[in-house]
């Protein structure tokens, strides 16, 4: 994975003479002390992270956490007080105005929270803005813009003015304007926050769709954790200008770095993020096809369970045997499990979302067998364990009682 953007020790202090405040900060004073002593606000406090090529990197935080400031530092709409911002290995904070303009024109484009369409320009004229600034000939830029408008579903709307569009359509124009530039990097500042919930979901899906085709590097700012979890390949948690945690949605959900993140994560609909893999139990114990019914009985007795999965040598699943069946088989003189009729256990693949598996889990009275892509048994699903995983922070729960 290539690193596209690398931010090192980014500090942003608001005010006209931030150098004194910067010295205090570097001397180890806290934000609060600096505010008290100098009256200056530390917007971003020593933040470092890197964004990989082709990923959606979500910066998540509440208002005042500095998330918009970070985004604006990435294209230098705001000048960092100190720190390094590398884009494709080039420190853009050191660039001259003309070169910075080049980088902005060619490498990055921005989508704004309040759409920020130019009111005196039509949809098409808005979409071509970036290319117009670069001096691309009219026909060429309009052709590209038309393609992008088509792509975001605005074909036929080229000659309308922004005040004739709904919020969702305006943001589509905003997106098309950014895409027309064909930038490597998309900076999206709460791009969907101003839209109503249904349109927001629609736009999120659309962005994911587009991203599959385009494979841009996207930095997405949001205050909505569900949005962050849905869109993000990785999420950076920001609080009070400091970075608390960077991780995949699952890492954030299952092992929040501190109470703050944990409190956030508590309200999340876990079924949309967690996969079967996250909630399954280890498939122990199991019995082999070559084992006899008495072995199965003993194992069940030892583990205090009433059924056990039967696998072959390559861990392919062959079925389930219950204590009743094993006892019966033993009485009727069957020596190996392969000779008896096993119960066909319900199976499910490990990468299915819990949400999609819920009906199956709810209906089944037997434990579910979890399979990997090669159909090997890698885990079992027990109703109680699923509930526990959804309710808590994914900690280990003793579920041995729940299958009795």
């Amino acid at each position: 994975m290539n690193v596209k953007i690398e931010v090192k020790n980014l500090i942003k202090i608001f005010g006209t003479q931030p150098q004194r405040a910067l010295k205090l900060l570097q001397a180890g004073k806290t934000k609060e002390q600096i505010l008290e002593e100098t009256g200056y606000t530390v917007g971003i406090n020593n933040v470092s992270f890197s964004v990989h090529e082709g990923e959606i990197f979500v910066v998540m935080g509440l208002s005042g956490s500095g998330k918009s400031t970070i985004l604006r530092c990435l294209n230098l709409l705001m000048e960092p007080t100190s720190g390094v911002i590398m884009v494709d290995g080039q420190d853009i904070t050191k660039l001259k105005a003309v070169d910075l303009r080049k980088v902005r024109q060619e490498k990055m484009a921005m989508v704004f929270q309040q759409f920020a369409l130019l009111p005196h320009r039509t949809v098409l004229q808005n979409a071509v803005y970036g290319l117009e600034v670069q001096g691309i000939p009219r026909e060429e830029r309009e052709e590209k813009a038309r393609k992008c408008l088509e792509m975001v579903g605005l074909g036929g709307w080229e000659d309308k003015y922004p005040d004739e569009l709904s919020g969702g359509m305006k943001q589509r124009v905003g997106l098309a304007r950014a895409l027309t530039n064909d930038p490597d990097i998309l900076l999206m500042d709460e791009a969907f926050s101003a839209l109503d919930p249904l349109i927001r979901e629609e736009m999120q899906d659309e962005l994911l769709n587009l991203q599959q085709r385009m494979n841009k590097t996207i930095v997405f700012i949001t205050h909505d954790l569900n949005e962050a979890l849905k869109l993000g390949d990785r999420i950076a948690f920001l609080r009070g200008g400091s970075l608390i945690q960077v991780g995949t949605p699952e890492e954030i959900i299952t092992s929040p770095a501190d109470d703050y993140v944990a409190r956030f994560v508590r309200g999340v609909d876990r079924t949309k993020i967690l996969t079967i893999q996250d909630v399954m139990k280890k498939p122990q114990p199991v019995v082999r096809l070559s084992d006899g019914p008495n072995v199965a009985l003993r194992i069940m007795k030892e583990n205090g369970i009433s059924s056990v999965f039967v696998v072959d040598r390559s861990r392919q699943i062959h079925g389930l045997v219950t204590a009743d069946l094993a006892l019966e088989a033993s009485k009727s003189g069957i020596r190996v499990l392969s000779e008896m009729d096993l119960i066909q256990a319900p199976t499910i693949y490990q990468d299915v979302l819990v949400q999609e598996a819920l009906p199956l889990i709810a209906e089944s009275k037997l434990p579910l067998a979890v399979l990997d892509q090669e159909k090997r048994l890698v885990g079992i699903i027990i109703r109680g364990a699923v509930l526990a995983a959804l309710a808590e922070d994914g900690g280990e729960v003793d579920v041995s009682n729940s299958i009795r």
Binding site: R72, N75, L77, L100, R101, K102, V103, R104, Q105, E106, M108, A109, M110, F112, Q113, Q114, A116, L118, P119, H120, R121, Y129, G130, E132, V133, Q134, Y161, E164, N181, L187
Partner: protein, 279 residues
């Protein structure tokens, strides 16, 4: 108590200016009034009166609804009927030239003020001064520098009418929403592109409001400037006062009102209909 000789200082300052650059200015004034304003006047006067009325009606049609066109038609017809047509042309030239000069100087100054806080702070008191100083006071130095005639009238009119053009251009550009300016920057616009493609177009309604005010102030000042030989309707009003002839004063006054309304509605109409007309 010691009385500060403010008036004396101003007088000696003006005297000195008059001595050093006075003759040059008067030559300039003669040149301008003969070659530019005079020719513009004769040019407009050469157009048949009915054709000019039609031009105005057509402009009114574009800028507004049929009511504005009808009003324009009747108003101008009345002015012609009162035999004030040459005076109307005279006034129109004065107003348009003054307003044009005010705008040509004022809008760039406004743009500068919007871009530089220091300049903005520096000219704010100057603009206050220009607007609150009784308009008559400008007539005196204008008269001294340029002599009697149209040029000193235009000079004092420009001083009086320019502040709104500066102020509203400044205000309009400062009021351009931050995120639109950010769009300009984020897509890598040069300062010049930012100005032409984003700031000026977005600020246009406000700037046009300034242009409208400048026109109105020009008209009112042109009437006052008749005291130093501007001619036009103001001269008629002045004659009415001097002769205690209410009728003449009223006729000229009504003509001023008609011209004011037409200019006001036209400039307003064009600023607001730009975008909606294309809908």
């Amino acid at each position: 108590m010691y009385r500060i000789p403010l008036g004396k200082w101003v007088n000696s300052g003006v005297d000195w200016l008059d001595l050093t650059i006075g003759p040059t200015l008067r030559n300039f004034a003669d040149y301008v009034s003969d070659n530019i304003i005079g020719k513009l006047g004769t040019g407009l006067a050469a157009i048949p009166w009915w054709l000019l009325i039609l031009v105005f009606v057509a402009l009114a049609w574009r800028a507004g609804r049929w009511r504005l066109s009808l009003g324009t038609f009747l108003g101008l017809l009345l002015i012609y009927n009162l035999k004030l047509w040459p005076v109307f042309i005279e006034t129109l030239v004065l107003v348009l030239v003054s307003a044009l000069v005010s705008i040509v100087i004022g809008v760039p100054l406004g743009i500068t003020a919007a871009r530089s806080d220091r300049f903005h702070r520096a000219i704010a008191p100057l603009l206050d001064f220009m607007q609150t100083m009784p308009a008559f006071v400008y007539l005196i130095p204008a008269l001294m520098f340029f002599g009697l005639g149209t040029v000193p009238s235009i000079f004092s009119t420009v001083i009086f009418a320019m502040p709104p053009a500066i102020r509203l251009t400044d205000l309009g550009i400062r009021q351009v929403p931050t995120d639109l300016v950010e769009v300009g920057e984020a897509f890598g616009s040069s300062p010049w592109q930012m100005l032409w493609k984003i700031q000026l177009p977005v600020a246009l309604p406000t700037i046009m409001a300034g242009v409208n005010q400048t026109m109105m102030l020009s008209l009112s000042m042109v009437v006052i400037a008749s005291m130093i030989g501007a001619g036009g309707f103001g001269a008629g009003v002045l004659y009415g006062i001097a002769q205690m002839n209410v009728g003449v004063g009223f006729e000229n006054g009504v003509a001023v009102v008609i011209l004011a309304i037409i200019l006001d509605r036209l400039s307003q109409g064009f600023s607001s209909s730009k975008r909606t007309a294309e809908k």
